[in-house]
Amino acid sequence: MLKRYLARRLLVAVPSLLIASAIVFMLPRLIPGDAVQLMLAETSYAKDIDELRAKLGLDRPFHVQYVEWLGRAARGDLGESLWTRRPVLSELAQRLPVTGELALYATVSALLIALPIGVVAAARQDSLSDYVLRSLAILGLSVPNFWLATLLIVLPAIWWGWRPVTGFVEFRQDPVAHVAQILLPALILGIASAAALMRLTRGMLLEVLRQDYVRTAWAKGLTERAVVIKHGLRNAVIPVITLLGTQLPLILGGTVIIEQIFGLPGVSRFLFDAINQRDYPVIQGVNLLVVSTVVLVNLVVDALYAVLDPRIRY
């Protein structure tokens, strides 16, 4: 049953991916000005511009370029950068671990912060601690991450003369320094997600704690811990997992600014530079990767949903 459901979801994901790929292909081409104009000086002749455009394959009809690109992308070839002439895929492979690590640490820290706080806030609804924790969560959602990052660079520098390492340290060079370098940006990225997850955990747990079976659990004389964690949290955690799936694009989106501020050579910084240089194959490649990852993660989340809640039948 689950297999059939997943197969159906996969089938539905295909048109979504196709439309998304068309958008991904179209978007960068709509940016005013193209790579050729940037590559050649303003004084260059129209003939040179046309020649270079033909050489890069940018003179052919739009749909021809799209179909050709899609065909090659399906075979794992994302083309090569217009500027560096290096394959987009290998450039991506080089930067993906940094962004992946950042996103992973951010997600884990978000969960570690959100779950305990959400449980406490729900178990002590409308108490002082609930108010304080909820206000903190909303504050976490309200503070722009680029400002938080700036503060965490400025204040320690002023107070203690401490500054985060600016050059990127590879894991192979110094594992401890590497993790320490990524931990702070990851924590900043995770804060907004933690706040959203905490709020949902609290809300869902409150709803579950009003159910009849929870009243029965109380009546049986179970401890608060058993009632809240075993009967409550287990049933409240499912939407939280769905939300975790939808947090991924958020976290990936946040990396655009965070990688920029902390000088991390990740995928988002690659995208930022590529957009500035109108490097179409790179923009398309990165966006396609992000879109496919998000679709895949949502598929996994839906499957997890069914495993966690045996009541869900497809």
């Binding site: 700036t150 907004a192 799936g245 992000v290 839906d302």
Partner: protein
Amino acid sequence: MSATTSATLELNGAAPAPAGARPRTVAVRWALAVAHFARRKPLGAIGGMIVLAMLVMAVFAEQIAPYRYDETVRGARMTPPSAAHWLGTDNLSRDMWSRIVYGARVSVTVGFATIALAIVVATAIGVSSAYFGGPWDLVVQRVVLSLLAIGPGGLSDYRAILAHESEMPNNRYFTLAYLLGPGPLNLIVSIAIIATATNSRVIRGATLTVMQSQFVEAARAMGCGHMRIIVRHLLPNVVATIIILATIGLGAVILAESALSFLGFGVPPPYPSWGAMLSGSGRTYMLRAPWMAIWPGVAISLAVFGFNMLGDALRDVLDPRLRGGR
């Protein structure tokens, strides 16, 4: 019975004023409702006050700010906060407090314009998509989902989306904003496109729930037309969801606007916008004049905090499933 006593009684849950008493004016009823809301939701009331302060700042910027936003004060380059310049001055000797006050205007204008645009279009898409269903729903939802590049699918609860409505990924705005180029109008359009997509999903979900109700079935059986069912029966029942979306969405839009301004897609200088004040000179001089990087961030955080608090409290009050009980 004096008006005050009757108001106190009403707040304490006592019976309404006896027959024969003068009917309350609209203003008094509103004041009572606000007082009741503030008593039940103190955090929401704080949020409401922050929002109100921001609106006043935006509307009366000329009267509140001691200087114009582009006025340079002779001999006051990067002076720290003092009695003369509450929040200090920047690298071009401009008063930071005045710039923050004028900056509220950008946030409020972009915020309200974006949300108005997004909510109207999202309601049209969401309600029609849920009501007519079939191929229309399928096509519209494919486009919406592709735009969002998220497919939580049929399983996801619309309330789960409501809960995390306050944040939307920056990178989508970012690509769109780049596409449209800098400037306030383009900023509004690029944020509104994404906000429309997200909100239309939520409104569609809420409408689908209302469609299950018997009164919709009854209206249909009585021979009501599509327009009548949508306007008289569906819309009034999703209006609470729309109000919550708009309030919390405003916080998200202000955050998005500041992120885009930070990246250079916002209002062109010298007009101040909080996000832009944080980038550029704010970051260049952050070690010598940290107040240049601190206050705009405080302003953004407070504004978003206010809208989120207010939206949260409104959700508690307007969404019966989250109301009362332990």
